[in-house]
């Protein structure tokens, strides 16, 4: 298994798109930008599975256009994990029985945080326990149930206001649960070949990780933080900047686990205060200075574990 770099610079990004026009996502939609890069990296011999969520509903159009230039099938909100196993199993079995030509085909699930970290958690875990190759689970994490109108999921960060966890007079913080770390969960599955986190920054990082995952020789997962202007109450033009700030403030940690080998991809030096990431976002606008300090402290504490993991070359659970 390699830590190979398929796309060394922007010029090497293939011009062909497999996620194209014919959709109605919001302006500046992080998951849509992510989808485009992920599908470019995966290439034409790919089947996408789309659990319900924005990347299902908003990728359709009332005039029946489809943005997908590769085979694509809807699955139920909690069905991503199992649907991919069905596809992978069918391909492998049909090839094994001589009913289909032998070929490498990627199976990629584009599941939201609600789809993968909540309702489809059990099925995802099942999927990660099998040994199908070229099987990649993408969690496109916009940190809430956006398609239904911004409700908290188990990956919503502490302090975010959502329609189910609004900040109010008696409950001033909004969401008080701590974000679930799905990449760590995935890494706890012994058959998993490759786990990574990513976002839209640095450029090419996400695409190279997709390439590595699909060539890893087993089930893989990439947990991708993707800003959502509607649910984060941010400017559509700020999506990529926010991805960068998430990394530079240490709020989002870029790492890979390649067959159990831990690699920290980026260490902010110096780490920016989390305020820079939180302040532009309407969902945190109710937070007081002391709340932001608290978040910054949590990040500080957590980073000790990431650095320890980097030193040891294997994951040390931070919680």
């Amino acid at each position: 298994m390699s830590s190979q770099v398929a796309f060394k610079n922007i010029k090497e990004i293939p011009p062909v798109d497999y996620y194209t026009s014919g959709r109605r996502t919001c302006a500046g939609c992080g998951p849509a930008i992510g989808y485009r890069l992920i599908s470019k990296a995966a290439g034409p011999n790919t089947i996408f599975i789309g659990p319900t969520g924005c990347m299902y509903v908003a990728n359709a159009h009332q005039f029946l256009t489809s943005p997908y230039a590769v085979p694509w099938h809807h699955t139920q909100l909690g069905g991503g994990g199992a649907a991919a196993i069905g596809v992978a199993s069918a391909l492998r079995t049909l090839m094994l029985k001589g009913k289909r030509k032998l070929e490498d085909i990627n199976v990629v699930v584009m599941g939201g945080d609600g789809a993968m970290a909540d309702i489809g958690f059990s099925g995802l875990s099942m999927g990660l326990s099998y040994d199908y190759q070229r099987l990649l689970y993408i969690i496109y994490d916009n940190e809430a149930y956006m398609n239904t109108g911004v409700q908290a999921s188990s990956t919503t960060p502490w302090g975010a206001t959502t329609t189910f966890t609004p900040a109010g007079k008696v409950k001033p913080i909004g969401n008080t649960r701590l974000k679930k770390n799905m990449a760590l969960v995935a890494a706890a599955h012994p058959k998993v070949k490759y786990v990574a986190t990513a976002t839209l920054w640095p450029p090419l990082d996400l695409m190279n990780k997709v390439h590595r995952a699909l060539n890893a020789g087993g089930p893989t997962l990439i947990h991708v933080l993707l800003p959502c202007p509607k649910g984060w109450f941010t400017d559509p033009s700020a999506t990529v900047d926010l991805s960068r700030l998430a990394v530079e403030t240490g709020m989002w940690v870029l790492w890979e686990s390649i067959e159990g080998q831990f690699k920290l991809n980026y260490k902010p030096k110096p780490r920016k205060h989390v305020r820079e990431y939180l302040a532009p976002q309407g969902r945190f606008s109710h937070l007081k200075d002391e709340d932001m300090e608290k978040i910054d402290k949590m990040i500080e504490e957590e980073w000790k574990f990431w650095e320890e993991s980097a030193k040891l070359g294997r994951l040390v659970v931070p919680y």
Partner: protein, 411 residues
């Protein structure tokens, strides 16, 4: 075979009978159907089917991928998507397992994917109960699944082959449940004549879905979110049409099945003694054997009693039922599925029969007999209810619905 004799259209193989329970017999049928992907999750009483399949695969009796799922929801998601890619698939469940998988089960039909699944019928919780009821299977009456109901282990195995043939027919493309009465079919061993590999291969053409999810077939987008104004009702109509078309396909398939195996079945209704019957006992499943026995005993006492057994609840054979019941004075529906708060407190099957008879020129007095909560009925109970049906022809019955309760006082 001699070369000078005219060759019959199909030379019927006559394999030796085996003694198999329903679970094993279904598994053997799945094996000869050359199924590719199977998804399993344990729940009584259907589990034995998967146990058998797993050991057949482990011992190299046939090649298939068996996925040990984390839940019934995943189980049905696995087979749905494997089917979309072009694999022949098999799943199954019972009781609350089906309830847990309701979401993928429903969308499988609305997506027109020809999944075949077995139901070992079982009472739903609460309280937990290993007994047999029909409400788990009948939950899925309304979404487009074809649903057949077996009387014997032999029929259950044969229905499995026919199910693949009908479900995968391009005129149909609907998923298919085979309902097996829990314990009575799943666990009872009887002699079964197996369908041979050769018979299955000749009877069942390979599965070729029209639009596969496979890069070989180009960029197919399937089950995309839609605008109701554009294809909402039209998409639903395709399911309705497929259900209606399936009647002819089912009839053809059973005729063909007889050609290859020598075993003949009437496609939709099995009627016994209905030619001159004044009284009819209507039902389905394994207990029909006892009900037929009761009818024949009453006949020998001079009562013109016949039986009508439904082999399919979807598509529902309404015309056939109206024809069979023409001239009958009184009839009783005998069933194991409830619908609390329904008209007259009758069961699910009664609604189907009564709706059909509303279109009949002459309507018999129609009573309903409910066996709920999993307690096993006996020949004695069936005799008592048959007597109620006979009596109702000349004396207006006090009520429509009769229950078997603790003391049996209702029947």
């Amino acid at each position: 075979m001699s070369a000078i004799k005219p060759i019959p259209p199909v030379a019927i193989e006559k394999p030796k009978a085996k003694v198999w329970n329903g679970a094993r017999a279904i598994a053997e049928a799945v094996k000869v159907a050359d199924v590719d992907v199977i998804a399993a999750y344990p729940i009584r009483p259907y589990t034995g089917i998967m146990n058998s399949l797993a050991s057949m695969i482990a011992n190299g009796e046939f090649t298939a991928d068996i996925i040990v799922a984390d839940s019934e929801h995943s189980q049905f998601e696995v087979v749905k998507h494997a089917s979309a890619v072009g694999a022949r698939v098999f799943a199954g469940s019972s009781g609350v397992g089906l309830a847990f998988a309701a979401e993928p089960i429903i969308v499988t039909a609305l997506s027109q994917l020809p999944v075949v699944a077995a139901i070992g019928t079982r009472a739903l919780d609460d309280p937990g109960n290993f007994g047999m009821e029909w409400s788990d299977a009948l939950m899925f009456r309304d979404f487009g699944w074809l649903i057949s109901w077996a009387k014997t282990v032999q029929e259950a195995a044969d229905m499995t082959l026919v199910a693949y043939r009908v479900a995968e027919d391009r005129r149909v493309l609907l998923p298919h449940f085979i309902a097996l009465d829990g314990a009575a079919i799943t666990h009872v061993a009887t002699p079964v004549v197996p369908v041979t590999k050769q018979q299955a291969t000749e009877f069942l053409p390979p599965y070729r879905p029209p639009y596969r999810i496979d890069p070989q077939d180009g960029p197919v987008t399937k089950a995309q979110h839609i605008a109701p104004s554009l294809i909402g009702p039209e998409q639903r109509k395709t399911i309705d049409v497929a259900q209606k078309r399936s009647k002819q396909v089912i009839a053809e398939a059973w005729k063909d099945f007889a050609k290859y195996t020598g075993r003949e079945y009437p496609p939709f209704l099995e009627t016994i003694g209905m030619e001159d019957a004044e009284f009819a006992l209507i039902g389905m499943g394994a207990y029909m054997k006892d009900i037929e026995l009761v009818a024949s005993r009453l006949r020998s006492k001079g009562y013109k009693v016949g039986t009508v057994r439904l082999r399919y609840v979807r598509p529902f054979p309404a015309e056939e039922l109206i024809n069979a019941l023409g001239g009958v004075k009184a009839a009783g529906v005998i069933e194991f599925g409830y619908s609390f708060g329904s008209p007259f407190g009758t069961g699910s099957l009664y609604h189907e029969v009564a709706t059909s008879l509303y279109e009949a020129d002459t309507k018999p007095t129609l009573l309903d007999f409910l066996f709920l909560g999993g307690r096993e009925p006996t020949v004695e109970h069936f005799t008592q209810l048959a007597e109620k049906v006979i009596e109702s022809a000349h004396k207006k019955p006090q009520k429509k619905t009769y229950w078997l309760t603790l003391r049996g006082e209702d029947i």
